[in-house]
């Protein structure tokens, strides 16, 4: 009985290791540079999420993640928090009023109060992040039961997540779009359940955040 239990456990552990190795994320980053960039130590960047679409919204948690990653490590960049900027600029950067093109930003900068606030923050680049994470290819099923003697779950579930985000970089000094960076991260998640469900989640959005932030940092620094 002991030997049988050990054998079952060993097989289960082997399956888990295989699944763990398989639930990774693959990330692709594309950069399109239109002009030279560079940033001084007294200048900063603000990262804003696009929220004009009717069927999705760029999550503020993702925008915050990108901003935080850019302030860390080598060649860190000063990033103004999104909500602080939007509140300070109210009502010029709400979903209804935010500039959609650099020509709109040019018109906006004619307002003295907007130009003064931009100067106060020391904004050199505005980065517009647009995208969302989609879950596709769900398969499998898990059923859970509970009774007087106890309970548990049995089954297997899997799904694929695809996090696709675009970042457009606007130079506030020249009022031009200086480049676009696209990040696409996909990953397969697994949820085997043998009494207790064991989630093996592919962290696609976290990986997309890290790669996008690293690429943006390089791009803004001019390298």
């Amino acid at each position: 009985m002991n030997a049988m239990m050990k054998s079952v456990f060993a097989k289960f552990a082997a399956v888990m290791v295989l699944v763990l190795l398989a639930s990774c994320t693959s990330t692709t980053v594309d950069e399109f540079r239109r002009a030279e960039t560079g940033i001084e130590s007294h200048e900063s960047v603000v990262i804003l999420g696009r929220r004009q679409a009717s069927d999705y919204e760029t999550r503020s948690e993702f925008v915050k993640c990108v901003g935080e990653r850019m302030t860390r490590g080598d060649n860190a960049i000063a990033v103004v928090p999104e909500q602080e900027f939007i509140d300070a600029m109210f009502p010029w950067f709400e979903p209804r009023t935010a500039p959609l093109r650099t020509q709109d930003l040019e018109q906006l900068m004619v307002e003295d109060v907007v130009a003064a606030k931009m100067n106060e923050f020391g904004i050199r680049y505005i980065v517009w992040v647009d995208g969302f994470t989609e879950t596709t290819d769900r398969a499998g099923s898990i059923s859970c039961t509970i009774g007087p003697g106890g309970g548990g779950c049995f089954g297997f579930g899997t799904w694929e997540d695809d996090a696709n985000f675009d970042a457009r970089v606007w130079d506030v000094g020249t009022l031009t779009n200086v480049g676009t960076i696209n990040t696409d991260a996909t990953g397969q998640s697994y949820l085997p359940a043998l009494v207790v469900p064991i989630p093996l989640i592919a962290r696609v959005e976290a990986n997309a955040c890290n790669r996008l932030a690293a690429q943006l940092k390089q791009f803004v620094n001019g390298s």
């Binding site: 929220r51 509140d87 209804r96």
Partner: protein, 215 residues
């Protein structure tokens, strides 16, 4: 001597506790959920108009509440947004006009000799929940009737404004929090469109022009 319960008695007591807990859970699922919209609103960065304006919030605005019904016709959510609307206008109006005075009835305006009276009203409120629309967003639409009157109560301008707000669902967020966040986004949308479009309403533009004020 310590009295001990027999096994049968212990089993009965345990089943009774489970039954009471289950009943409590069932009862908590019934009844309407109350949402009082709460949020902070920043002051708009816009040029002030050189006017003294009285603002009148009638009882319909102050006590405004929207009830969302379930598919079976039962009251599901009661959303109270009157106070948050007043907080919003209290933040926006002083940034739009040199002086803002709160009045409790329209007769007070004539005595104060203000330039105009602003009396907003909510005409319609709509809510879309993810459970019903199968989208991953909470949505709020609000339709307003904005009224601008002279201090004597004569009509200057009367126009309709709509606002929209949405917020995505979050993994551990409650429905009430989603509704509140979407409503706050809608209120901010109202503030931005009202403050930026006020001078572009044709009757308001003509009235300002007659007073020698450029909008």
């Amino acid at each position: 001597m310590i009295a001990r319960m027999r096994p049968g008695q212990q089993h009965f007591k345990r089943r009774w506790r489970v039954a009471v807990m289950a009943l409590g859970l069932l009862l908590s699922a019934c009844g309407v959920n109350n949402v009082v919209v709460e949020g902070n609103f920043p002051t708009p960065n816009i040029a002030r108009l050189p006017l003294t304006v009285a603002v009148y919030y009638d009882d319909a605005l102050r006590d405004y509440a929207y009830v969302e019904y379930s598919e079976t016709g039962q009251e599901e959510y009661n959303i109270e947004s009157g106070i948050s609307h007043i907080r919003l206008f209290d933040a926006v109006l002083p940034a739009m006009f040199d002086n803002v005075v709160l009045i409790n009835d329209l007769e007070e305006a004539a005595q104060l000799g203000v330039d105009a009276v602003f009396a907003p009203a909510i005409e319609e409120f709509q809510l879309a929940l993810p459970a019903k629309t199968k989208l991953d967003v909470y949505e709020v639409w609000i339709k307003y009737n904005m009224r601008l009157l002279t201090s004597e109560g004569d009509y200057i301008a009367d126009w309709v404004l709509t606002s929209y707000g949405k917020t995505p669902t979050s993994t551990f967020g409650s429905v009430e929090a989603g509704i509140n966040d979407a409503a706050i986004v809608a209120l901010r949308d109202l503030a931005s469109s009202f403050s930026l479009s006020f001078g572009q309403v044709p009757e308001v533009r003509d009235w300002l022009s007659a007073r020698g004020i450029r909008s």
